[in-house]
């Protein structure tokens, strides 16, 4: 493979996150020869989305914490006397504090696959049986006394083959105590499926009307239905990314869905925030006068700049204080502050708040009644779309291809080449490197922030309505001063990110501690761990957790270029995802860097109509031959371009 790569490019892009992919597409579109590599086996870096099995193996990678140092051919020898090398890192250190919890009842997946759907039904139907208590015994949150009681019950009631079962149960209980939250617990509990099978299930049909429970094995089996985003973002309907997608025509590679509702969490209850005209009109929770107040305030915010006398006097105070001076009831103030401006009591001043509100309103109504879009099959689609555009214009793609070092010319202080994992030296004019690829030597002075993330699989929505296909965003303000607001995005199965009957919930906030410490309080407020014992009081229930994941992700978005040590001027740094809701940062960054590489070039202009492209030889001979070179370059990398198609397969 190494031999196949051309030895010279105009731009080499290392990392396939969103900003890198946009730049690669823009450069390729402008006629630059682009090589785009990623050491990972998937596109997107920390912007990727995974199927359920995909996220499990991603987890494994981070939990094992193993160094995948497969030393390639020594590159040091290749560095000439007038050259220096900037070694790149081989290990990703952007993800930390990974914790996984499984609450769904678990059974051996092999068995389920053999037994088929009927068997599964039985397992869920027998909840009236004593074994149901046994299920709960595996739950980390279940208290001990219950466990013991259930074991006793079991020994009393199962006449035959009980000895073995009871033994297994006590076994599990012990492990459950010692390594409560471990993945291994999940695996062990497979035995419960066996126990349940031992119990006669003759009266099963009588209990049929109960909602079928989703088991862990179902999740595994339907794992391909999931597209779990590492970074949880939405697209503002009039944000930079939408503009770019439309302008560049990249939008044709993706599909989007409108977020259907904005939610707020107030006084222990989840409620819908009326933000559009139609919402306000239809709202049952607002009084007539509140409707008018809210509409009046929002109308003012739409063009607040035109009425300086209305806010000039309040410029110095926080937005929340300003709202108190307006004709708004407390719950309207809450809606505007947390759900529309999406800021906090202390974070922003009047102008920022008005700006944020205006931006929100400005995005309303372009595609629907909320200002946001979500890409079907997950956020991870977006970098891939730009990669595809890059490839269409001749960019070359190599996944699982790491770069050992950048080669810098001592005299000119410019980077001139890379040396890849096979020891091939590839020359280029410009080098774009995603932050996580730099070694500790380069980043020794860099201060990173962290993002706390959680991904949950739940069995119902946080706010039930007629339709179960709602996509919601909910902001939960930080409780104490100094803690950050938590952004909750709940995706339904029609977003193609989770299996039918489940919801995929993303929680995000700026870290103050580990992800679990930051987010678990909110998770506990909104959800309850999955247990089978609670089936009776269906009414008051919160959605139940089937599975939960916590991790921290490094936020390199705010790092200034100067903090990196000794970077040559033609090496540009792309940051990983930020904690913000929109993607404006990535697009801004991409455009800025593109202008440095290709000054005076249009940024991702729309591709020409196919009928306007001149293909026959009426142009100059030399140019024609150049074009053929590009064609060759394309045909040289069939494997790579195939891997561009990969994500599509995965998402089917």
């Amino acid at each position: 493979m190494a031999d196949n790569l051309p030895s010279e490019f105009d731009v080499i892009v290392i990392g396939t996150g969103l900003p890198e992919s946009i730049i690669a597409a823009a450069c390729s579109r402008s006629g630059q020869r682009v090589l785009h590599v990623d050491s990972r086996s998937y596109y997107g870096g920390n912007w990727a989305s995974f199927s359920f099995s995909g996220i499990l193996s991603w987890l494994k990678e981070y939990q094992e914490n193993s160094d995948i140092v497969n030393e390639g051919p020594a590159w040091q020898e290749q560095i000439l006397e007038n050259e220096e090398a900037i070694a790149l890192s081989r290990k990703d250190k952007t993800i930390q504090h990974v914790e996984v919890f499984c609450y769904a009842s678990q059974d051996l997946h092999e068995e389920v696959e053999e037994a088929g759907a009927l068997q599964k039904n039985h397992a869920s139907v027998i909840s009236e049986n004593p074994t149901e208590a046994v299920h709960s015994a595996y739950l980390p949150s279940e208290d001990e006394s219950l466990c013991i009681a259930s074991c006793e019950m079991l020994t009393e009631q199962t006449p035959s083959s009980d000895l073995e079962t009871a033994l297994e149960i006590s076994n599990v209980k012990v492990t459950g105590e010692t390594e409560k939250h471990d993945d291994k617990t999940c695996m062990k509990s497979a035995s419960e499926e066996e126990t349940s099978k031992n119990v006669p299930t003759t009266e099963g049909t009588a209990l049929q009307p109960k909602k079928t429970r989703i088991t862990y094995s179902q999740i595994i089996k339907e794992g391909r239905r999931f597209n779990i985003d590492l970074v949880s973002k939405l697209l503002y309907s009039r944000g930079l990314l939408i503009d770019l997608l439309i302008k560049s025509n990249v939008s044709r590679y993706a599909e989007f869905k409108n977020i259907t509702r904005i939610l707020a969490f107030r006084e222990g209850r989840v409620e819908q925030v009326p933000c559009s005209r139609a919402d306000v009109f239809n709202s049952k929770q607002l009084t007539m006068v509140e409707k008018r107040m809210l509409m009046k305030f929002l109308t003012f915010c739409m063009e607040y700049e035109k009425h300086p006398d209305e806010y000039k006097a309040y410029e110095e105070i926080t937005f929340s204080e300003y709202l108190k001076t307006q004709k708004l009831t407390p719950n309207l103030q809450y809606f505007v502050l947390h759900s529309i401006a999406m800021t906090s009591e202390t974070a922003s001043n009047t102008i920022d708040g008005l700006k944020a509100t205006k931006n929100f309103l400005h995005c309303l109504g372009r595609y629907g009644n909320t200002p946001f879009l979500f890409p079907l099959y997950g956020q991870g689609e977006l970098p891939q779309c730009f990669c595809r555009m890059c490839a269409v214009f001749g960019g070359i793609y190599c996944l699982r291809h790491s770069v050992q070092c950048l080669v810098v010319d001592k005299e000119s202080r410019k980077c001139k080449a890379i040396i890849d994992q096979f020891g091939q030296r590839i020359i280029s004019k410009h080098f774009l490197v995603e932050d996580s690829y730099f070694s500790e030597n380069t980043c020794s002075h860099v201060q990173y922030r962290q993002i706390s993330r959680s991904v949950l699989i739940t069995d119902r929505s946080v706010l039930k309505t007629d339709s179960d296909q709602q996509i919601s965003i909910l902001t939960v303000p930080g409780e104490e001063p100094g803690t950050f607001a938590v952004r909750v995005i709940e995706l339904c199965s029609s977003t193609m990110t989770c299996m039918k009957g489940t919801y995929l919930v993303h929680l995000t906030c700026t870290s103050s501690k580990t992800a679990r410490e930051d987010l678990e309080p909110v998770v506990q407020k909104l959800f309850t761990p999955y247990t089978e014992t609670e089936t009776e009081n269906e009414e008051v229930e919160k959605p139940r957790l089937l599975w939960a994941l916590y991790f921290n992700m490094r936020d390199s978005s705010d790092v200034s270029r100067n903090s990196y040590n000794d970077l040559p001027s033609n090496v540009y740094v792309c940051s990983g995802p930020d904690s913000g809701l929109g993607n404006d940062n990535a697009v801004k960054q991409a455009e800025t860097l593109f202008q440095l590489i290709c000054p005076n070039e249009d940024f991702c202009p729309p591709p020409p109509n196919p009928e306007d492209i001149i293909t026959d030889g009426d142009s100059l001979q030399s140019e024609a031959s150049e074009a053929s070179v590009i064609l060759e370059a394309n045909s040289e990398t069939p494997k790579e371009s195939a891997s561009l198609g990969n994500p599509e397969e995965a998402s089917q």
């Binding site: 630059q32 009109f281 239809n282 006068v289 409707k291 509409m295 214009f393 492209i613």
Partner: protein, 567 residues
Amino acid sequence: MHGRLKVKTSEEQAEAKRLEREQKLKLYQSATQTVFQKRQAGELDESVLELTSQILGANPDFATLWNCRREVLQRLEAQKSPEELAALVKTELGFLESCLRVNPKSYGTWHHRCWLLGRLPEPNWARELELCARFLEVDERNFHCWDYRRFVAAQAAVPPAEELAFTDSLITRNFSNYSSWHYRSCLLPQLHPQPDSGPQGRLPEDVLLKELELVQNAFFTDPNDQSAWFYHRWLLGRADPQDALRCLHVSRDEACLTVSFSRPVLVGPRTETLLLMVDESPLAVEWRTPDGRNWPGHVWLCDLPATSLNDQLPHHTFRVIWTAGDAQKECVLLKGHQEGWCRDSATDEQLFRCELSVEKSTVLQSELESCKELQELEPENKWCLLTIILLMRALDPLLYEKETLQYFQTLKAVDPMRAAYLDDLRSKFLLENSLLKMEYAEVRVLHLGHKDLTVLCHLEQLLLVTHLDLSHNRLRALPPALAALRCLEVLQANDNAIESLDGVTNLPRLQELSLCNNRLQQRMVLQPLASCPRLVLLNLQGNPLCQAVGTSEYLAELLPLVNSILV
């Protein structure tokens, strides 16, 4: 640069586009020509369908071609087997849909669809409803589609409740939708028929309250959206008043009988028939209007023969029967009396509350309160102000008179574009109030001075007034309808801006006319005065025409019987 795509320049693109357009135009024209030739030759076969579909597919607004298609389809109907016809209809429906996608507001296409569906033995109405729903989803205000939907709903006898639910869903999405609100106003009376309400129908109170809440949601959310306000007005409004004869007046002196109607009518042999019974026997008379123009009007009169007025009987009864209006009225002229009359009282019949008229004043009261609440939040909203005024009038015109006038002032300030309309409306209300006060006082003298009136209306209600004071207003004319004031003896209209006197005509009892300080310029406008036989005093001081040479002479000639003319 490397790998840069070769793209046609904009000139090349423009040239390619131009060629393409030329090509298209040629095809279009030749197809049109062929169709017309075939039509002329009577060759109405499937090839015409094919050709017209090419053209209509690109331009669905070519009405003649739709006619061609109908001709072809009609002919084919006779020739084809049912199976073939079914296939033909299916393609036709599909084609129509594709045309609608080209232009969803094409009159021709929607009409053709109506025509086609109307001819089918078993039309699939469910499919058509679904089609409407789809097009209304794209544009909820496409009134072509609304029209078609009403056609389909009527044909398929869709229950009004279902259609109402459909309007619900559209209003939920966007309440700025006249069509949806209007459809509700058609459906609700069907759903809740009220036996004794007029054609427009009133709603039962629970339904009314629900609708009021819905529409309030709309105007509290966006008080500048008119559609909701109009629906609100419909909800509170009532049907046109029943046809009636408002007043009957007999005068012995003038030997004349005068009738005033609830709406303008044209009485004549071929139009409205009016029967007069004198002492229970029919009398043939000639009806005319007071101004002699015999246009549709509120007031009609006839001359009575001396026999009908003689003093031999203790009294004469006069009964007028309006056959078309299903109404009649009777009055009595007693022996020794100069006149006799019978009239509906404006106070009893609440004649002037017809703008809004929900019987339950509690509903109106609560509407007024919520509008006032909204007005506090939106002091400059004209719809809200106007609705408040209308509600106050419906509730109690006299009680709220002062408040109403204040609201008028605010309203005029916020909506200067409609100042003249508002002035007229205000004049009308003030006149109504004065009339009510006059009737309460049981006098025949009406004082309308110093009221800033810009227009005179309800003059047909003043049939019996003897003294009228219009001084110090902003009137620009004494309109023809003033001729209805058959009993008027003294008319004061000083200090206005009157330029014409068309209404001061044929007033049999007018003795004094004072028109000081007006804008009478031409002598010609004084002409009508000559038709008032009893005029003895005329004051024209302070008018431009007084300056003109020869005015006095002219007047002396025109009005020889007038004793004193002040110029």
